[in-house]
């Protein structure tokens, strides 16, 4: 009886968003009278950081400091429609809508500044620090705040924009069945090292090594945060979590956190992550967002590592000690390195 080490590998091509019936999101941007900008969304930040990332995207597209942008989310009474925070679509769909809304607001901002400076709006640029200046002549400038005041109190002009981003539904070709269900994929690969106790069936994850291609990491710390937390959730799905341990029998189902198993802070394995940036053409500033693929590839990698460790191929989740022990018994003992036939 011994502990057996195993290594497993898995890759993922993860589609960003969905388009069954079309997949739209909208954004509205308006300037307050003091030259700050409000981004109104009904999109929901569930903790992935959409509020932070849409704020960065709006600031970049408007050409103003991030500190001057506010994001209001999650109220479908006050924000324009969004399909929702699912399918890893938030950064991609909402970000693109925000760019369009901010671009329209920026055009109005520059027109108002052009009127104040008595120049053509096409000759103006922003410095990202709260100023608008004539290209090549930085001294001929006006602040965004003064422009907002001038637009809204003297010129009678709004400084606002509307944006929608829609991936239209893709019909299947009746001849070939071909369709284009998604426009954009993110990618990942993960190696899991673990140890299986062939006497108890217990699994200890020892180390994770992963690489994720996320387009551009618009906020590198938020990307890392999602990848670390998502991999933990993947391990939890692979080894612990279920609402129906003996499905289709409903017996012994957990009813609360006492009986719903999850790994705790004492069960963590070191996770080394490489983030690969390959900006995507149709993504906001190239960023696709990690999303659900943080968790998904961990599960087959864990299953492969268990097979590598003791030769038990589990195709049901979670891979509990009981399932591993039954598999070892069926194989007539642990078979490190996989089953040889």
């Amino acid at each position: 009886m011994a502990k057996r080490k195993g290594r497993g590998f898995a890759c993922i091509n993860y589609p960003i968003g969905m388009n069954l019936g079309g997949d739209p999101s909208q954004a509205l941007v308006h300037s307050t009278p003091d030259g700050k900008f409000m981004v109104s969304l009904s999109s929901i930040d569930l903790g992935q950081g959409m509020k932070s990332v849409t704020r960065q995207i709006a600031a970049e597209a408007l050409g103003v400091p991030v500190a001057d942008v506010y994001v209001d989310t999650a109220d479908s009474d006050t924000g324009p429609h969004c399909m929702g925070s699912f399918a890893s679509r938030g950064t991609h769909r909402v970000g693109n809508a925000v760019i369009r809304a901010a671009t329209e607001a920026r055009a109005q901002l520059l027109e108002a500044a052009a009127e104040e400076l008595e120049v053509d709006a096409a000759d103006l640029d922003t410095d990202g620090q709260g100023n608008i200046h004539v290209k090549g002549a930085p001294s001929r400038s006006i602040t965004v705040a003064d422009t907002a005041v001038a637009a809204q109190f003297r010129q009678g002009r709004t400084v606002s924009g509307r944006g929608i981003f829609l991936i239209p539904p893709s019909e299947a070709n009746p001849e070939t069945g071909e369709m284009t269900p998604v426009s954009c994929f993110a990618h990942g690969a993960i190696v899991v090292d673990l140890e299986v106790d062939e006497e108890t069936g217990e699994v200890e994850v020892l180390e994770l090594n992963s690489a994720y291609e996320v387009g551009r990491a618009l906020n590198p710390k938020l990307v890392e945060q999602q990848l670390v937390g998502g991999a933990w959730m993947g391990i939890s799905h692979a080894l612990y979590e279920t609402t129906e341990p003996y499905y289709p029998s409903r017996e012994h189902g957990p009813v609360d956190f006492n009986s719903y198993l999850m790994p705790g802070p004492g069960d963590l394995a070191p996770h080394h992550i490489a983030v690969i940036e390959r900006p995507a053409e149709d993504a906001p500033f190239g960023g696709k967002g990690p999303g659900e693929m943080c968790a998904n590839p961990v599960i087959p990698a864990v299953a492969n590592a268990i097979y590598n460790a003791v030769g038990v191929r589990c195709d049901e989740l979670p891979i509990t000690p009981e399932r591993i022990l039954r598999g070892i018994r069926a194989n007539g003992g642990a078979q490190p390195g996989g089953v040889r036939r």
């Binding site: 945060q225 998502g230 933990w232 956190f257 006492n258 705790g264």
Partner: protein, 161 residues
Amino acid sequence: MPKTPVSFNLNGVETSLFVDGGQNLLDALRRGVGDLTPKFGCNQGTCGACTVLINGRPLLSCLVLASSAEGDSIVTAAGLADGPNLHPLQRAFMDGFAAQCGYCTPGMLLAAKALLDRNPNPAREDVAEAISGNLCRCTGYAPIIEAILAAAEVMRRSSRT
């Protein structure tokens, strides 16, 4: 059922209110006092989101009868900052991206404060042990552990000067 008057010190402020016989402290803090930093998670003592410090000990406010808090000194996450100056734990959680959805964060902060108050130089395992009663769904715990260790170092340095 008659209500019972109860008085305690909440984040340095003497606080009195009427509570129902079976009312737990979590409910009294949230609905009675209006301090929404202790979070309602499971209401049965298994998630840690409602953790508060009672006389310096981290306790689950959902399992404490409000009427039993008479004369106690209670600290919630609302009492951690000194005016605009964040507590080193709050600062470390922000700097280390140790919160995602944020629902577990107040409980985590107080579990961590209780640890650092009794052990200013904890090992990584001590930190994991101290927050093992607090569930987090988003972070995978690693950034939280790092943030607590970072705050401990900051607090040790500032206590030496």
